[in-house]
């Protein structure tokens, strides 16, 4: 476990192939730990981690917390709904207060793009981005890549379709950076109104024809559609969205071939993905969740120094 050292994990943009590979390789080792009768190692004993969640989250928060506990770290949780934010304290003051309690690592989920970068510039703890607005969600993309590595093998030359609301998706951005760095081809598919301008400069192709995109790809990563997009006028209706961009068994059969089906959750069944697709053959959606714990263990381990050997 030598080579790349991380102070922070803010995003996958600009992260080297070596660094990503090191995280994924470490995650493999932790996957093995998770299979043990007692899935716990003392690697981060004495390390204190604060999970700061300024935006509601269930699975990411639980996944980080499990990862931390399985590494024997001391863990504390903060979420904006039950602490000083309601009194109008700034994020910076909150973080400084938590830092004053001698925290080594801060895991932050925030509605504001760049919030983890803002903290990384101002406090001395290591920062892990657990999702910042529509910017990045690096551990989600890492777990997606670990899932694909397990399911398919090498990512070089793999054809991945990201389907849905690209404009507002941090999952899409982190996946694009990570997958491109590891040599995969990426296409994005969704309505033009949910496609960020000049996204092709991130090294992806754009299509609005789902059938054509499905015929091309090996993997479909389906994004969650936030239902408020309708109020914002970005989609005419959920029904209209589903007709053009909902992933159905029929479309998959038309496209032919076996596809790996992914979704970061939580799913809107019957909108962006049908139940028989989400629960059917090819779906690795629950496996993603399992791998998520291993990937987060790897990230936490490497960021906390990583010199302690897994026992």
């Amino acid at each position: 476990m030598n080579g790349v050292r991380f102070n922070h994990l803010l995003g996958l943009e600009g992260m080297s192939r070596e660094a990503i590979t090191e995280i994924l390789d470490s995650a493999e080792a932790f996957l093995e730990v998770l299979e043990r009768p007692i899935p716990k190692v003392p690697s981060l004993r004495g390390v204190t981690i604060a999970n700061l969640f300024f935006e509601p989250s269930t699975r990411t928060r639980i996944s980080f917390e499990l990862a931390e506990k399985r590494l024997s770290a001391d863990v504390t949780n903060f979420s904006s709904s039950n602490s000083s934010l309601v009194k109008g304290e700034t994020m910076l003051d909150t973080a400084r207060n938590i830092e004053a309690m001698k925290v080594d690592v801060v895991v932050i989920r925030h509605f504001a793009q760049g919030a983890p970068h803002f903290l990384a510039d101002r406090i001395s703890a290591s920062i892990i981005n657990a999702g910042d607005g529509a910017h990045e969600h690096p551990t989600q993309a890492l777990l997606d890549m670990l899932t694909l590595k397990h399911q398919i093998g090498a990512l070089d030359g793999l054809k991945v379709l990201i389907l849905g609301d690209i404009a507002h998706s941090r999952v899409a951005r982190s996946n694009i950076w990570g997958l491109r760095t590891l040599g995969a081809s990426v296409k994005v598919c969704g309505p033009l109104a949910l496609m960020p301008r000049e996204v092709e400069e991130m090294g992806v192709e754009i299509t609005h024809d789902l059938n054509e995109a499905l015929a091309w790809c090996d993997v479909v990563n389906v994004l969650r559609l936030q239902l408020e997009r309708q109020q914002e006028g970005l989609i005419p209706s959920l029904r209209d969205y589903q007709r053009s961009f909902g992933l159905t068994r029929k479309r998959l059969e038309m496209a032919g071939g076996d596809k790996v089906i992914m979704h970061p959750g939580p799913m809107n069944r019957g909108v962006e993905i049908d139940s028989d697709v989400a629960d059917g053959s090819g779906s690795v959606i629950l496996r993603q969740v399992t791998y998520g714990v291993a990937v987060r263990m790897a990230v936490l381990y490497l960021i906390s120094g990583g010199e302690r050997i897994i026992e």
């Binding site: 910076l92 760049g114 970068h117 910017h135 990045e136 941090r170 960020p196 400069e201």
Partner: protein, 443 residues
């Protein structure tokens, strides 16, 4: 304007002189309007330039060694925010004017987005009176609509009588084309000008930076070019229809420039200003989420920057204005999307424009002085400052060779939100002489 005043204190490190008897020895006098560029002594008596020639023998007044210094017509910033009344923790008229003087400006036009908004004659007088005793003319811009709410016109006749020459709801663009039409009609009737922050807010709602490859990468909501251009186009059409004068505030895109150029070619009475930051910075600088680069309109692309500079040189752009927008440090020190828009510029404008545009030969020194003095004064209807014998003094003195590093900690403004922190510049104001007062730095 040559009123006797009780002098306020000059900025720290500066010295105040009376203009009853003051001489500058061996300065380079540059006044493009007079086609003047010569080395000479300049003699002032009772606030009037009495001589452009040798200092008389037996001169008993103060003499300032001006060797290496340029004296030009006083610079005028036609777009600033002084925050008073209502937001004195960001800036006051006094601190803003001190910053203006330190940056070489002898006049500023503060925008009316204060609390309360400057929408009646009493408030106009309040703002102007606050600058009493300073060498900086404060010429308030009055609101177009009451409370800047975009519904009811302010009382133009009384505001005109109070000396207002420019109206703007700056920061709250007029959504109603009908209200804009009538504002232009009233302005034309009284010989005033409407200054508009051109933004179609249904297209920019939530936007925090230029929409394009960089906003896509950062996942930040975009403020697209079209949000400005569609408003520029509408307002030019209304100016043509009403035959009124329209001034476009802080034009930021290449297409806005094309629209302004075409309008001028058709003889429409439209003028435009650009800020120093839109002439020097592009949106790639936002990659680190530094809220000091968050501004409205947002920093655009490198191509926009290059074309705006061409627009300065070819005359499409009439004026440079800073849009000096002070905020308290703790207001800016938050996550990017929550931070307020705005950058300060009074203390850096001269150095930035001189270093980045004049020294590389993109515009001449004369053009810089036109853009920062005569043109903004002409547009807003203030008397032109001139380095002419017999004229009341209204002068900026600067050292074109002084090298310095921008540091917000040393600003006279209350705010530090400069996008030029750490820039190495050449050219810096040394003094302003106006309203019977000379403030000179370190001499």
């Amino acid at each position: 304007m040559n009123r006797t005043t009780s002098m306020m204190d000059p900025p720290a490190g500066w010295k105040a002189y009376s203009t009853d008897k003051l001489a500058l020895g061996g300065v380079r006098v540059v006044d493009p309007s007079l086609k003047l560029d010569q080395r000479t002594d300049l003699v002032i008596r009772d606030g009037i330039i009495t001589r452009l020639g040798s200092i008389p023998d037996r001169w008993t007044g103060a003499v300032i060694d001006g060797s290496g210094l340029i004296v030009c017509p006083g610079l005028f910033d036609m777009h600033v925010h002084l925050r008073e009344p209502g937001f004195e923790h960001k800036e006051t008229i006094e601190s803003g004017c001190t910053a203006a003087a330190a940056g070489g400006f002898t006049g500023v036009a503060p925008m009316p987005n204060t609390n309360p908004a400057i929408d009646n004659a009493g408030l106009v007088r309040f703002v102007r009176d606050k600058a009493y005793g300073l060498p900086v003319d404060v010429h308030p811009v009055a609101a177009i609509s009451l409370g800047r709410r975009g519904a009811t016109l302010t009382e133009f006749s009384e505001l005109i009588e109070a000396g207002v020459t420019m109206f703007s709801d700056d920061g709250s663009p007029l959504a109603s084309a009908a209200l804009m039409r009538h504002a232009l009609e009233y302005a034309r009737m009284y010989g005033a000008v409407i200054c508009e922050h051109c933004e179609e807010q249904s297209l920019t709602a939530g936007g925090v930076m230029h929409e394009g490859a960089v906003s896509t990468r950062l996942g930040l909501p975009g403020w697209p070019s079209i949000g400005e251009e569609i408003a520029v186009e509408r307002n030019i059409a209304l100016a043509e229809f009403t035959r009124a004068r329209l001034h476009i505030a802080h034009a930021s895109t290449a297409r806005s420039l094309e629209l302004i150029r075409a309008a001028k070619d058709r003889g429409i009475q439209v003028t435009a200003e650009v800020t120093p930051h839109h002439l020097t910075l592009d949106c790639t600088i936002l990659s680190g989420f530094d809220s000091n680069y968050k501004v409205n309109p947002p920093l655009r692309t490198r191509r926009d920057v290059e074309l705006l500079i061409e627009g300065l040189a070819d005359g499409t752009i009439d004026a440079i204005a800073t849009d000096h927008a002070p905020h308290a440090p703790d207001e800016k020190e938050v996550e990017f999307i929550s931070a307020p828009f705005g950058m300060i510029g009074l203390e850096t404008a001269l150095g930035v424009i001189y270093t980045r545009l004049v020294l590389p030969g993109k515009i001449s020194l004369n053009r810089m002085i036109e853009l920062m003095s005569s043109a903004p004064r002409r547009i807003i209807g203030q008397p032109e400052a001139a380095v002419r014998k017999g004229a009341e003094v209204n002068l900026t003195v600067f050292n074109p060779d002084e090298e310095w590093t921008v540091d917000g900690e040393h600003f006279h403004s209350k705010a530090k939100n400069t996008p030029f922190q750490g820039w190495k510049l050449k050219g810096r104001a040394v003094g302003v002489i106006n309203r019977g007062i000379a403030w000179m730095r370190g001499v």
